[in-house]
Amino acid sequence: MISLKNITKKYGDKTVFHNFNLDIEENEITVILGESGSGKTTLLNMIARLTDFSGEISGAGQVSMVFQRDRLVPHLTVRENILLINENADVKRMLESVGLSKAENLYPKELSAGMARRVAIIRAFSHPAPLLLMDEPLVNLDLSLKFSLLEKIKELQSTTGKTVIMVSHDVKEAAYFSGRIIVLKSGGEVILDKKRVSEKTLTETLLNGQSI
């Protein structure tokens, strides 16, 4: 179990989280949904220890992450980018699994947006950390690619058994996983925390901005 206890985070005078508490089950996908400014990315950054905060996070340990921007090293090939974070990764097999078998020796600038996203996702899955954080991993991708990658994320999660925390502002994406969904409101308030929530309910929750 990953536990966030009494988390308070401020940017200057703005309080993003105040005495925030959350428990996340291991070995499943948890989607955190919310509008811009609700603190979704900050939450992931706190778990990844990329930003300071007061309070306690336990059970997180070493993490891997898919960032909003791909953050592939531009002067390293796809293969070298994956080996940078895990020297023992089976790069060929992993690339094959996402239809990128011919991209092994390409540089990031030679990849399309969709290809770069796939590389960023398998790079994160190739890392041995049991907890994977995904910060809007499918933003700006076309619909068909988005859903094929959602399917791939589900498949990789179930084969690796990793705990995945995915942040999104897309109700379709969130509903697709049919797992636990947490909806955050500005100020770090949880207005929904349920499993298997329909797209309609999620939309209404976000529109009303109130707990249901």
Binding site: V63, P74, H75, E80, L84, I85, Y107
Partner: protein, 250 residues
């Protein structure tokens, strides 16, 4: 790019050099005095004579060695200063007036003072250091500021070791800027070194040969020495820009 364009691009630098030599030839013919402007032929004859004398090589390599030493010291200290300024804002603020003062120093006056205070061998080294250091500091600081912090964060999240982060992520990002700065700095260094040696009358130096040629009115030898300095500078810049391109495979 079309084949014709490629050929033209390759030929353009040679055409420019040919135009310069053409204008020089025309001006020399017009002036018609070897004591004012020798012909291109006379200059190359003087160059050939220089290349046959042991004294020239002693002077040439003496100047080159002093340039490299001054440059190495300037590069090392500029890197340390740039790194400290990059890491600590207070250090950057403290260094700023120092850099401005060093940059504003009148070069010729400083050479004359340094000759009094030190020796004719050391003075040119200090002067070239003082001129090159601020430029190198600014270039290296800009290169360090260009390091992508997102990639540093990525390395931190994935637990990439510091050694791997520096060698595979950070250095390749800053290497092209560092190498280009080094090439430009070394060329500037060489030019300044020759000028400072003329003023300081450093023995066994290009500056000394220039001074002697001036005293004996050997203008073709003076131009040959200028030509050698220019060619050496061009070779240095070419080698460093080639290295910079090789350093990153982006």
């Amino acid at each position: 790019m079309k084949k014709q364009d490629k050929l033209l691009n390759a030929l353009l630098p040679f055409l420019t050099v040919a135009v310069i030599f053409g204008l020089w030839g025309l001006a020399a013919a017009k002036v018609d005095s070897e004591y004012v402007l020798p012909t291109v032929g006379d200059t190359f004859a003087a160059l050939w004579e220089l290349l046959k004398s042991a004294e020239f090589y002693r002077a040439y390599f003496g100047t080159l060695l002093r340039s490299v030493v001054a440059f190495a010291i300037a590069f090392f200290l500029a890197f340390i200063a740039a790194f400290v300024a990059y890491k600590y804002d207070k250090a950057k603020r403290a260094l700023k007036p120092l850099i401005v003062i060093i940059r504003a120093l009148p070069t010729i006056a400083v050479v004359l003072l340094l000759v009094l205070w030190t020796s004719s061998f050391v003075a040119p080294v200090i002067v070239t250091f003082l001129v090159v250091f601020p430029t190198l500091y600014n270039n290296l600081y800009a290169a360090l500021c260009g390091i992508d912090n997102d990639l540093n964060e990525m390395c931190k999240v994935f637990g990439v070791s510091n050694k791997k982060r520096l060698t595979k992520v950070v250095f390749p990002q800053i290497a092209p800027e560092f190498i280009t700065s080094a090439g430009a700095g070394l060329t500037l260094n060489l030019k300044l070194m020759v000028a400072a040696e003329v003023l300081a009358q450093t023995a066994r130096s290009m500056g000394y040969l220039l001074n002697t040629s001036k005293i004996y009115f050997e203008i073709s030898t003076m131009l040959a020495l200028v030509l050698i300095t220019v060619i050496t500078g061009l070779i240095i810049e070419f080698l460093f820009s080639f290295w910079a391109k090789k350093a990153v495979k982006r």
